[in-house]
Symmetry: C2
Subunit: 381 residues, 2 copies
């Protein structure tokens, strides 16, 4: 019988869940009395517990970073490109852990979970969470797993910001921070795009101030718009041009408002698939976490000062065509680290795919990522 | 009594309207049996009728390019920066004409006008119009004004595209084409942004397939989203950063979904003001005209071939921080003209304001624009 999955995949994986009974104080002033985190692991933890790496996910992602949930799954985890046997995050060497962030909608406690105060889903009453809240919850999670120090905390986009926050808030608990396609904080334009996405969701009449669940509906229109917009910012102009150009679906102008250009068809399709399975309240929370992310703010708005007491070694990666978090934003992180005489490696990868490049099998990217992870592995044996 | 308006303003202006009874065949196959164009003029037509310039407006603009409609108007016409006595488009030398495009909502025949077939407003039944339809309607308009040849046809953004189309379709009817902050056609990303704006409007429950007027409502939510999104693309990341940074309206995070960052407040305010006075069906039509604009398509997708029989002299202007229609897009136009050995001047203006820079009083921009218009004036006396 042939193997159902590629040889370089971790194959079938089963999500796990862990319950935390100790209350968690959040930056916003509220407290979660108890919560669950859903996570997946790939590879084996070694005897010295020194080969564990924590992978942090991006805005609308989840704990399913690699492998497949079912034998007939056609879709693998979101970072299948980088996690697996022989891949940059090599599961033959590393024990890889990925957890769904608090406030998520893929198993961890979030707006769809039951609010102990009411016995009904939290909905809009789920507190706003920050990247710092996530690192705090993940520190406890690390304790529960018996991992005193991660060989590396790794993430792309919002996940990269989380890795940066880890290095600042919990310096002794990681040896390496891998910060990919991220920024030290959002620009006004980044916030503006998030705000349009939020307004799209919140102005949808089916949103009902976040209590759509009680009305048996979902703000699908708003979520679709938010996703279409997000999608534009994930791709470069060139990538969109290369993929769709100005090609017409039916070969000629229709002089109406149905789908005409291929790019329109693609956006609508992507958005529909997304809106069906993602929770609107979670989407709102994740964009807020992005807006609030600004680790330098606690250190006189001086990023070098924020990173000064970090002890991890850093690997920063950016992509030339990423206009959501451009290379210039990554270089701000690198410069702050250099100002501190920190150990930092930086790679700017030539890529036409835009922000989404961090998910793509770009040979040069995989090569430098693998090379850096070899370095991580050296002291993790 | 002091003058109510600045000395370099054309001052009080009165819009005029002109009726056309001859049916106009449109690119989409439909025909307008009759139509009106609203326009404004500034300055005096000379005896030889050689000093007239036609100004073409952008997406959501109108015929009110300069001056004031009322003594107590605080807001001037949209291109007050460039049109007036002593300004680049000098009303002491030029007879300046600006008309609202067909399909508009500011006086010219459009979705809010009465459909002769039903006696009610056209609404969504107003035919899709193209940039070529506009130049065709403006050619008749020129005949009616007795202007055989414009000294220049001038426009920014969609207006610049219209100037380009004039040079291609009606080569003998203009001596100069001034094409500012434009592109030879939209990219897939440009189309994608338009599509999100259209979906925002069309998925608003108050849109009623475009028949919102019959229901006594307006799709305000959708129009606001479209405008917020548009606004992001009109400004550069730097301009937004310079204007708002990450400043908080109330000085601290609210951990909720009210307005927090100044940029959010600005976007919401701008969008509300816009949605109140602009018609959604017109917005849809204008974005379609943009998407369809592709003058090279009629010439084997070869822009140089399209421009080969143009006889106008060209002035092309772009702005360094414009990411909606970047300098690279303007250089495509310049290259095609150079390939044809056409007379073209090109200025790339250092500016941080993004696409909106074409409306701004940027000294170097005004200087080169004035210098070029001096050249236009030389043969227009």
């Amino acid at each position: 019988m042939p193997e159902p999955f590629p040889a370089d995949s971790v194959g079938l994986v089963v999500p796990k869940s862990i319950h935390f009974d100790e209350p968690l104080s959040l930056d916003g002033g509220k407290t979660l009395e108890y919560y669950d985190l859903v996570y997946e692991t790939y590879g084996e933890l070694n005897a010295s517990r020194s080969n564990a790496v924590l992978v942090c996910h991006a805005l609308s992602s989840d704990a399913h970073a690699a492998g497949y949930h079912h034998v007939d799954d056609r879709k693998s985890g979101w970072w299948e490109t980088c996690i697996g046997p022989g891949k940059p995050i090599d599961t033959e060497r590393f024990f890889v852990v990925c957890s769904n962030n608090l406030g998520g909608c893929r198993g961890s406690t979030g707006p769809m979970s039951t609010n102990p105060a009411t016995g009904r889903p939290y909905g809009p009453d789920f507190p706003v969470v920050t990247v710092k809240d996530w690192t705090r919850s993940q520190a406890r999670f690390s304790d529960a797993l018996g991992i005193k120090q991660w060989a590396a905390v790794i993430g792309g986009s919002l996940g990269g910001m989380q890795a940066l926050q880890w290095a600042i808030d919990l310096p002794n608990r990681l040896r390496h921070a891998v910060v990919i396609a991220a920024a030290p904080k959002l620009s006004a334009q980044n916030i503006a795009f998030n705000e349009v996405a939020r307004q799209a969701i919140r102005s949808d009449p089916d949103f009902y101030d976040g209590r759509y669940d009680e009305h048996g509906v979902k703000p699908l229109r708003g979520l679709k718009l938010a996703r279409m917009l997000g999608h534009i910012t994930y791709l470069s102009d060139d990538a969109m041009g290369g993929k769709f150009g100005r090609e017409l679906r039916d070969g000629k102008f229709g002089f109406g408002f149905d789908v005409e250009f291929q790019v329109e068809s693609y956006l609508r399709h992507q958005a529909e698939a997304f809106a069906e399975h993602f929770d609107a309240n979670t989407y709102l929370l994740m964009t807020k976490a992005l807006d609030y992310f600004d680790p330098a703010a606690d250190y006189d708005h001086n990023l070098a000062k924020a990173l000064d007491h970090a002890t991890a070694k850093f690997f920063v990666v950016s992509f030339t065509s990423d206009w959501r978090f451009s290379s210039a934003r990554s270089r701000e992180i690198v410069k702050a680290l250099l100002d501190d005489d920190q150990d930092v490696s930086y790679a700017e990868i030539e890529a036409h795919q835009g922000h989404d490049a961090f998910l793509m099998p770009i040979p040069h990217y995989l090569d430098v990522f693998r090379a850096y992870m070899n370095r991580v592995a050296e002291v993790s044996r």
